[in-house]
Subunit: 221 residues, 2 copies
């Protein structure tokens, strides 16, 4: 993705979140934000790739704040919550391949912020299940999967990976000959899922876990 | 106010809002945000006064975007909405001095964002009227006004000035000997009220309108 006018605000909002999650010390947080203010012109410019620029900025703050994974607890809670929701959905509903695709999309849309009411998530998600997709390319996807030998599935944030896992199970059932690879980040960057998170969520059962080889949000290819 | 760790994020959010209000052109907005990313280390530092640093940054963007008052329409709508709400409140309620103080506080709390439902504002505000103040120094204030010869009242944003005006009317009734001065910004800066806004809202009837002499958010004294 190319840099957009809104990216700077996102860089700074995430930087603030990093400083808040990394330390309770207000002076330390201020120091981090002053470093961010100095650094940001290096990472936000006309030719910046926001995923790379942002990540380099965030990692600079991780080093300064001496915290290698400020989102650790946030991710733990997101994963716990999503896991519970997916388990409930499995009990309540008979989930087909297309449903699981919709759930993976819904999981991507909903932000698993700390404190989000799990009851409400279930309701929101069931609501989405009953809606049509606004852009629906599922038939094309399923046709491609029929003809494919391998699938490389790139995961994004913690929390939503539990919805991805459900979708991958359904893919595995529908296309048993398919060789599935699931890629996550090599090491922690904001709330992105890491290889460790995939192991923890038992993705080994639905495919082969691989590392994206980077510690950059998104997946520069 | 001294600089706080959250000020950088506020600088950037306001910069983005300025670029959005000043132009529809996405390239122009991006250019403005790149300038903001370069400039921000000059305005956000350990010894910065946020009201001054922020304002200098915003005015730099005004020049770049060739728009001397990007919030003009936003302020017009805020004023129109607040004026209507205050008129309705006058009709519905008998408002005493202490009520008017509470309304001036409520007017400060509620953000007159474009699209805010006026029906809801009235409800919110009436709700606040029935609540006790969390920190109540009104008695001290009223005692000071009794002994004072002059009052300098500093206004803040457009919209809420209509609540300030109601409060000033009640002050004038209660302390007829008091000489009242009301200060607003000399020229537009974000959504702060200017001397022109005070004239438009007929503040001349409740006191003498004066300029803060600056184009800086807040009032550096």
């Amino acid at each position: 993705m190319k840099v957009h006018y809104e990216c700077l605000s996102c860089f700074i909002t995430q930087s603030q979140k990093i400083s808040e999650l990394a330390t309770e010390d207000l002076e330390k947080r201020k120091e981090a934000m002053i470093v961010a203010a100095k650094a940001v012109q290096k990472y936000y410019h006309r030719n910046a790739v926001p995923a790379i620029g942002g990540s380099l900025l965030f990692l600079e703050l991780y080093r300064l704040l001496e915290n290698d994974d400020p989102f650790k607890e946030y991710k733990r809670i997101s994963n716990k919550l999503a896991k519970k929701v997916v388990e409930e959905l499995r009990k309540e509903l008979k989930i087909g391949l297309k449903d699981a695709l919709k759930l993976a999309i819904a999981g991507n849309v909903i932000d698993f912020a700390v404190g989000y009411n799990p009851e409400k998530i279930e309701e929101d998600i069931e609501h989405r299940l009953n809606e049509e997709l606004y852009i629906d390319e599922s038939e094309e996807l399923f046709k491609s999967l029929e003809n494919a030998k391998t699938l490389l599935y790139l995961v994004d944030n913690c929390g939503e990976i539990y919805f991805d896992r459900l979708f991958l199970e359904k893919i595995e059932e529908a296309y048993p000959a398919l060789k599935i690879y699931i890629a996550a980040k090599e090491a922690p960057i904001i709330n992105d899922a890491t290889v460790e998170d995939l192991k923890e969520a038992d993705f080994g059962k639905v495919g082969k876990i691989v590392s994206s080889g980077s510690r950059i949000v998104g997946n520069p290819l």
